[in-house]
Symmetry: C2
Subunit: 174 residues, 2 copies
Amino acid sequence: MKLGEGVEAAIHCAAMLAGVDGNSTMSGAAMAEAFGLSPSYLLKHLNQLTAARILESVPGPAGGYRLARSAERITLLDIVLAVEGKEPAFRCGEIRQRGPVRLDASAYVKPCGINAAMLKAERAYRAALAEAKLSDIVVDFMNDADPRTVSASCAFVERHQRPQKNQSNQPSKV
Amino acid sequence: MKLGEGVEAAIHCAAMLAGVDGNSTMSGAAMAEAFGLSPSYLLKHLNQLTAARILESVPGPAGGYRLARSAERITLLDIVLAVEGKEPAFRCGEIRQRGPVRLDASAYVKPCGINAAMLKAERAYRAALAEAKLSDIVVDFMNDADPRTVSASCAFVERHQRPQKNQSNQPSKV
DNA sequence: TTATTGCGGATAAAAAATATCCATGATAAA
DNA sequence: TTTATCATGGATATTTTTTATCCGCAATAA
């Protein structure tokens, strides 16, 4: 049971984007630099977030990414599902009916109890992730993290965020 | 986020072993046949269960596997951890400190909040798995599954279990 | 027009999961 | 004692997945 590295990158990027002002954007290259990641690969993950409507993207110079909605309404579950896919971690191969004795298909209409138990645990996992809002992550970081990392992070956002044309800045999304 | 196929195989095998009498055993080859699995690969997983002291193995003819303790005291978490390993699914790569600005190491002594949130969800997952006892799986199967599959399963166990030498049969482990 | 950016496809490289084989030691049965 | 059966562990091969790179394209700000 493993999560890909893209999940960590995606959450960190989303948290950073929660700090940009109004509808300003931040380029994928800037976020790749911020976390020491391969730019071309990070774009794949950001793309998944865009496809899932967690992020919005703006092409062209001064383009980049921003949150598609407030950080209050983005959960870690949203991000994990966008990056890892929605299929459950436990995939029942129905090996109960792969044996030598071939019973009629009607004998297997009731779902496999093992599958049910595994999926139940996974629902608990997803419920916990659904409780974790991106805004909580950001607030906890601001309050609890080392002040040096907080100011470094804010400075990075300040330096790399890019205001958009023809639109007034809106209040922070956090 | 994916679990290997070995997990499904391991749980099914453990559930089947819960049905053997006393200290009788069942060979890995028999279980591979029961579920249509590759014998040589299934042995790897059974081996992990043995190493985790969930199963006991007996070499030689009439040898095989049996539960190392009652099915009441074996949980799905035990099995999943034995097969998949104990490391958390989310592995924090500390990318927060991989950026271009190199802060002093003392700035990162507080744990990463994102990692903490992900691990919290994983604790919920594991807690749910720890609640699921192997004996529950077996009882539910006996009570709820299609009677044809139940009797087929019991017949298979009856046919392949092998009594051990010099020891009286003990009551079922369920 | 030019430079920058995200997007998508193709592809490659690396890592992990899956699967097979063989030599070994243990042991029950003949 | 011999033989056959079984689990064990190592070595290795195969397949799949993950990670990563590259290039051409469309959009767009300057």
